[in-house]
Amino acid sequence: MISSFPPGLIMIIGALLIPFLPHIIRQIYMLVLILVSSYALTLGFGIHYKIEIMDIQFIIFQSDSLTLPFAIIFHIAAILNVIYGAHEKHWNQHAAIMSYSGAAIAAVHAGDLFTLFVWWEATAFTSVFLILASKTQRSYRSAFRYILIQVGSGMFLLAGAILLMSETGNSEFRSFDINSLYGQLIFIAFGIKAAFPLLNGWLQDSYPEASEIGTVALSTFTTKLAIFCFAKSFAGTEILIMIGAIMTFYPIFFAVIENDLRRVLTYSLNNQLGFMIVAIGIGTELAINGAVAHAFAHILYKGLLFMGMGAVLYRVGTCKASELGGLFKFMPITAICTIIGAISISAFPLFSGFVAKSLIMSALGKEGLVLVYFMLLFASAGVLHHSGIKIPFFAFFAHESGIKTKEAPLNMIIAMIIASALCILIGVFPSYFYEILPYQIHYQPYDFSHVVGQLQLLTFAAFAFICLWHFKIYPPELNSTVLNSDWIYRKMIPGVLLPLLNLINDINKKIELFIEFLFISIKKFFANTMIKNKVFDREVGQDTLIVVQLFIILLIFIFVWKIYL
């Protein structure tokens, strides 16, 4: 029994003790919890733990070649989060991160949709505290919107699970048909968490409002859990190719004009999810490997970039490009680690992004999806622009902001160095990395064409940016709000609904007045008839009433007589 204890669950249960432990012991305790949880990954593939309640099977712990890479990277990310957040003395964020990571790991190992639903919602309820941890009015509001949308996604999942159960008699978490109603409901649930176009507003709305530690954790689990679910249930679903291509494409423009560098990273996150979604849509072994490899590498380099910006936020108190600049001399290690993250996400050879993205691009090329291929190639240049250059350049170089600060705390530096080292190791030794992917395929990312083509693409895109900046064509960053799809529920719906409600209210009042008028008129009419010698005069009225009563009795008598005789 203890050997088949579901990974992640120990972290959730263990998180209950976190408030009662002193700071240093708490940090060690959390690392131990993660290591104990990771032991379950050594048990091999298959169903390890299931329970049956009222003839319904709940598969709590199952593993296969798809769960393993996600489980590994989720555990690594959980360790990095603990190290990165070690300077935080208060227990609340630590407890949230531990239970949030645990819920995501447990969700990956769920074998049925009801178990997945429980962990799905658990990730929402645990992660919302990381947004609340900022303790600002904006973060409170954002957290409220976040939890509504996340729970809403869970409701779609639950509805899909119930429908599946009623139609097929089981709720196994497996491949689903997009043409079925339950398939569509589950697809929407996953799509909300994967921040599909127009469903993505919550991502840019909430993540940048979280604490510096919280954003790192948030960037790891929720969206990648959705990617895992898509890979498991909708691999080869063609519509995903176009959805993913759009996802890679449009956030670039938003990222270019966004001023808050953590929000820029959320657009970039959206764009990277697009690459994974495209690969899942293709559905071949090479493509699925590409999606998983990209998710794995992305957790590391995006986490690293968020760590860099979190360190800047922690030290300087802002992440706005318009207010930053020239921090390299004060935070050189943070800057170098952020640059490594930026190089990785841009997919320069010898870094993790290159070995992961190459799989997806090759899969696209092999399938002959030329349009999508060029959309993703365009997006690759965009990634270099907004994440590869914009993030490190505006934070650590650009202009002299006059800000004087000091290097990030030691724990943050350690976490960033480990993440940087992993980004490089994956890039230098891709064959070891490819071994943990779901399918064993032979793929060589480092051939002359790949390397030279990619280097030309990236260096010339960088040169274009340099020209724009050097010749002062690039406009200055401005303090602003960039409208995104969250505008629909933050401005448009209230903007349409409130006048509509006011109109309904007005009509309602007018109807009330009319009824009142009608009532008064009728009252007046009858009042006039009740005066002396009129029909309803008290004395005459009594006689009239007797006549009416007699008439009714006569009617009842005829009715009964007709029926029974």
Partner: protein, 75 residues
């Protein structure tokens, strides 16, 4: 060379030289792409440069109607 560094800066000049090196590399070896269009000489270089300019241009043009005051949602 000195003039270039003075006018353009050290880092910018280095990137320019890297660009030239990667173009020369293509002339030395045989580069092929995943699609036949990519086989055109220096295609990735053109594509990368143009993409960056297009992204910039579209981004800047979007500023006029996507960019609002910082307290837009708080009003």
């Amino acid at each position: 060379m000195k003039y270039l560094i003075e006018k353009f800066g050290k880092i910018n000049t280095s990137v320019l030289f890297l660009c030239i090196i990667f173009l020369i590399l293509e002339l030395i070896g045989h580069r092929y792409g995943e699609t036949s269009i990519e086989d055109i000489l220096f295609f990735p270089a053109f594509f990368g440069y143009l993409s960056c300019i297009i992204i910039f241009k579209i981004g800047v043009s979007l500023r006029s109607f996507l960019m609002k005051d910082e307290d837009y949602y708080d009003k």
